[in-house]
């Protein structure tokens, strides 16, 4: 008990919702090192501070959990994980019990089983909803436990009618509090993982409910639509706003030309919805399935990801030119990426004074939509009003993004519907297709198959890596492979919360044709050190933003990639449930594996992109037409809501 006091100053969650974090020294046999405990008759030697739950899991002993989540601080509130610790009067929550001395634990005694069954029955006595009419049917942690503990009747009753109206105010996240079991994972996700803090426990005793500020509809508060809470809800209380019916209606309508673009992250994860291990990409199987579902064309969002790199990269070079050469003090630097709509809204609410730093380039989803209803429509002589654009995204915020009033530059709604990975999997299963069995087929022209750079957009650091591959080559005239083997820019990869990288431009080359109208030469960049940052998850984004505000090292950066979701898009709020660090790692592996086999791996070498600049956006990147179609503006929202 004489360990140093522990205070994780970085967390905003109240301590009641955080476990005891003891630094695990890992040293064998040293004082404060390891300790041997006994669980269900088995001995195990563990680093001091390991919880009973972690120790049991490493022994292969299952202890049920509900409020516990690998990504979140420990709340210890559902109590389903209680176990007997010899010598303790009461049962102990395994998730929140760090071992500091040799103990004997029993995980399934009569006392324990009775308590767990009671706890489940108590939850069910408040949980309104029928399993077969729920999107989490067969993927619900409460349902799984009810089965595991043999719930065959409602010992303490069961609600016969709903108590709460379903909150459908948000374009992204729907809240049905009738299914809420008050595990508070969403609260912890929002305040601790994302540091947004829209949700909180309200009231006391039996009146406790999860509420927004002043119990306002979710659509009216500072929710950033990231959907991370959806991914961590054990039941169906939180779900994405699902446009499946509208998409089916469009497909069924013979007058509509329905096209879908698919982003790389859903393709790397959708297999999980069909029972595959995380980390199996089904990109080309999906193309076939989508055609069988009735989509008229299947496009690769990577095309517009490459386009984004060109536009955003050019914008960066222009900002640098204006700031460094023309000494224009009004230029905002560092430039921030803007392809994550959750991040964009986070910045608009929490750091509105930094709106000028956001790249004006639209996200790949929105660029694609704008081009489909203009360039593609012209090319194929289809009236854009008859085109329905659907986007398969790993993201719930994309639903909000495509509904932003600014996003109608084609003269129509650029993207009509955003589908999440989960929703599309549902559509596919409705058609009787087992996705993993589909034959592989390619994407449709004119956008074709894109580059590896587009693929890695799905992982944190991916936009930065793609931008570096192109910007370095466009400026130096050298191949990136000369400085990074196989064009793998390892320093920006990985799940570290915040990354900082410097790259010195030793050589400069001639200005390539594409950029000739914009800059006379690169002389001003010779020998320059480009400073770059990467952050994923808005909690990390906040760290970086606060550093910038305080004039720290990130304020000297030139370009920073921000993603709202932990892990980047592959950990998006529209991805298959569950999520965990290891699942996200497997998805990242799939994404980098896909990148490495592409023949073309650099955005500026994508022939379809070059073709668009030749045929349609003739003034080149950041030209007049691309400004109209591919760039946008943002709103200084602030935190104050009426």
């Amino acid at each position: 008990m004489t360990d140093k006091p522990i205070l994780d100053d970085t967390s905003r969650a109240p301590v009641s919702q955080r476990g005891y974090v003891i630094e695990k020294s890992g040293m064998d046999d040293a004082i404060g090192g390891k300790v041997t405990i006994n669980i269900d008759g088995k001995d195990i030697k563990i680093p001091l501070g390991t919880t009973i739950l972690e120790a049991a899991r490493s022994l292969g002993i299952r202890i049920p959990t509900l409020c516990y989540h690998e990504d979140l601080c420990v709340a210890g509130v559902c109590r389903i994980c209680v176990v007997e610790v010899e010598g303790q009067r009461t049962l102990q929550a395994a998730c929140g019990y760090p071992v500091t001395a040799p103990i004997t634990v029993k995980t399934h005694t009569r006392r324990v089983r009775q308590a767990r069954r009671h706890i489940l029955d108590l939850m069910l006595s408040k949980h309104y909803g029928e399993c077969y009419a729920c999107f989490r049917n067969n993927n619900c942690e409460l349902q799984t436990l009810a089965k595991e503990y043999g719930v065959d009747f409602f010992r303490f009753g069961h609600p016969e009618k709903p108590l709460y109206a379903v909150d459908r105010s948000s374009p992204s996240v729907i809240r049905d509090m009738n299914k809420c079991i008050l595990c508070r994972r969403c609260v912890r996700t929002c305040i601790d993982l994302q540091e947004v803090g829209v949700l909180e426990g309200h009231g006391r005793g039996a009146d406790v409910e999860i509420q927004t500020f002043m119990n306002k509809p979710l659509g009216e508060v500072i929710c950033i639509n990231c959907g991370q809470c959806i991914n961590r809800c054990p039941t169906g209380a939180l779900r994405a706003n699902d446009p499946t019916d509208e998409v089916w209606a469009a497909i069924d309508n013979p007058d509509k030309h329905v096209v879908i673009q698919t982003a790389p992250s859903p393709r790397a994860a959708i297999g999980e919805n069909f029972g595959l291990e995380p980390g199996t990409a089904l990109t080309f199987e999906l193309n076939t399935a989508l055609r069988r579902c009735g989509f008229d064309r299947v496009f690769d969002t990577n095309f517009s990801a490459d386009l984004t790199i060109i536009e955003e990269g050019t914008e960066l070079l222009l900002r640098l030119y204006k700031a460094l050469v023309e000494k224009d003090a009004s230029i905002a630097l560092p430039q921030f990426t803007s392809c994550s709509p959750g991040w964009v809204k986070f910045l608009e609410h929490f750091y509105p004074e930094y709106v000028p730093n956001l790249s004006s380039a639209k996200s790949p989803q929105q660029m694609f939509g704008a081009l489909i209803k203009t360039y593609y429509a012209e090319l194929n002589k289809i009236d854009p009003k008859d085109i329905v654009t659907v986007a398969l995204m790993p993201c719930s915020a994309k639903k909000f993004e495509c509904n932003r009033p600014e996003m109608c530059d084609s003269g129509y709604k650029d993207v009509d519907y955003g589908l999440t990975t989960r929703e599309l999997a549902q559509m596919i299963s409705e058609t009787g297709i087992f996705l993993p069995d589909m034959p592989r087929s390619d994407f449709d022209d004119p956008f074709g198959t894109a580059t590896g750079s587009g693929v890695i957009f799905g992982a944190t650091g991916g936009v930065m890596e793609a931008a570096l591959r192109s910007v370095y080559e466009l400026v130096s005239g050298e191949r990136i492979e000369n400085i990074f083997e196989h064009a793998d820019i390892i320093p920006v990869r990985g799940f570290q919360g915040v990354k900082y990288v410097e790259l010195t431009l030793d050589k400069i080359g001639p200005v390539p044709d594409l950029l000739k109208p914009l800059v006379p030469n690169w002389d001003w960049l010779k020998g320059a050190t480009v400073k770059l940052g990467v952050a994923h998850g808005t909690a990390n984004a906040k760290r970086v933003m606060d550093d910038i505000k305080a004039g720290g090292k990130f304020s000297e950066c030139h370009f920073i990639e921000f993603m709202a979701c932990p892990g980047g898009c592959l950990g998006g709020g529209g991805q298959p449930i569950p999520t965990s660090p290891s699942i996200r790692e497997a998805r990242a592996k799939a994404i980098y594996a896909e990148d490495s086999v592409y023949e073309i791996r650099k955005s500026h070498e994508n022939p379809a992109v070059l073709k668009v600049y030749n045929e349609f956006l003739r003034e080149g990147p950041c030209g007049h037409k691309s400004h109209k179609l591919l760039h946008t503006s943002y709103i200084e929202r602030g935190k104050y809501i009426s």
Binding site: K4, P5, I6, V77, Q114, S125, I181, R204, V208
Partner: protein, 396 residues
């Protein structure tokens, strides 16, 4: 308000400053040894040995430590802390200074129940006086190595905020919700720093233990419950009020003193305590037999025990912080069971299930509130089965 009590309270016979001076003379280790030796156990209800608590806090290395006096006194049926604060606040504050010196804390906080905020003015005056008299502030009693000051924090009126970790959350400006334990406040308390939380009465006893010594204190009471204890007696008795007795007296003795000889039952320990029926009045009030934080509620022969317990359960349904499942939902189910009993519609089978649920709540709740809220329910089922089962009418 007329604080009634029987004669003089023993701890108040020690003059101000005397205990503090004695403590400073003993030195840090000496104080902890004296408190440990006295056998003093916490008077807030849980009965944790005070010396052990102080020793743990003293042994933890930290840049800052705190002493918190728990004056939340939210347990229905207790009012002894109010009387102490009203009349002997300086002794409580002295106890805090001594605790602070012993563990190495320079700051004390009095967490005062919202309903007691009318006491604040006088308490602030006492603090001010102690500052001018050199008992608080820099250089306590002229000692260069001792500085300590006390601040008053007004609670916001939730019973659960009396639970020490919820109290600390509340001090930190959060919802008053109990924390996971471990860590314990002596290690990671207010602002993440080692914090000793003690009840008002616990601290009030400290100066006299310092002045008269551990042996004096430990010679009183029983083997496992040392010293004297204050009781808040209320209900169907002739002379309600605050009483001082040594631990170990029988309930029958107590009833004779307070004029409650014909009581049908006594709830010892407030709403979260157990109901003791008249046939068990020979039991002893002590940690080893019938423990209590001091609340004694007496029920006369005319009382309907079902109503009594319904009353307590309503209290818990409203006062549970609502954080953990067994307590949040369990209390509701127990109350629903009582309603059914009132209407004569609760089957024996259902009753058995609810008793098992009560056990689950005692075992699996996150904090002491849920762990003790079924006590009253379980004790009436045990002792008054005949009285509560088989009713056909609502009894008014």
């Amino acid at each position: 308000m007329s604080p009634s009590h029987t004669g003089e309270l023993t701890f108040s016979t020690v003059k101000p400053r005397v205990g503090l001076q004695a403590a400073l003379d003993k030195g840090r280790a000496g104080i902890v040894a004296e408190v440990s030796g006295s056998g003093l156990k916490g008077r807030g209800g849980a009965g944790f040995p005070t010396g052990v608590k102080w020793n743990l806090a003293a042994a933890t290395v930290a840049d800052e430590k705190f002493v918190v006096c728990n004056a939340d006194e939210g347990e229905p049926g207790t009012f002894k802390d109010r009387v102490i604060l009203n009349r002997f606040a300086d002794l409580v504050f002295e106890g805090m200074i001594i605790a602070g010196y012993a563990i190495g804390a320079q700051k004390g906080i009095l967490y005062l129940r919202g309903e007691y905020s009318y006491l604040r003015k006088d308490l602030e005056k006492t603090l001010e006086r102690m500052r001018t008299e050199g008992m608080l502030g820099e250089r306590v009693l002229g000692r260069d190595d001792v500085s300590f000051d006390i601040e008053i924090f007004i609670g916001s009126g939730a019973y659960v905020c009396g639970e020490e970790t919820a109290l600390i959350e509340s001090l930190e400006g959060q919802r008053g919700e109990p924390r996971n334990r471990p860590p314990f406040p002596v290690n990671t308390g207010y602002k993440g720093r080692p914090t000793v939380v003690n009840n008002v009465e616990t601290l009030a006893w400290i100066p006299s233990i310092m002045a008269r010594g551990a042996d004096w204190f430990s010679s009183l009471g029983t083997d496992k419950s040392k010293g004297l204890k204050l009781f808040s007696v209320s209900g169907d008795v002739e002379r309600p009020g605050v009483y001082e007795f040594p631990w170990g007296l029988t309930i029958a003795d107590l009833m004779r003193e307070v004029g409650g000889e014909n009581a049908k039952a006594v709830q010892v320990g407030g709403a979260s305590g157990y109901i003791v029926p008249a046939r068990d009045f020979e039991r002893h009030i002590a940690f080893e037999d019938v423990p209590t934080g001091g609340a004694v509620i007496v029920f006369g022969p005319h009382r309907d025990m079902l109503q009594v317990v319904s009353n307590f359960m309503e209290f818990f349904v409203g006062e549970s912080c609502g954080q953990c499942t067994p307590c949040r939902e369990g209390n509701v189910k127990l109350l629903e069971g009582l309603r059914l009993l009132e209407e004569g519609r609760c089957s024996t089978r259902q009753m058995r299930e609810l008793c098992a649920l009560g056990e689950t709540m005692q075992q699996a709740s996150k904090c002491g509130l849920g762990q003790s809220s079924p006590n009253a329910f379980l004790s009436i089922v045990k002792h008054y089965g005949d009285e509560i089962m088989g009713r056909t009418d609502v009894i008014v």
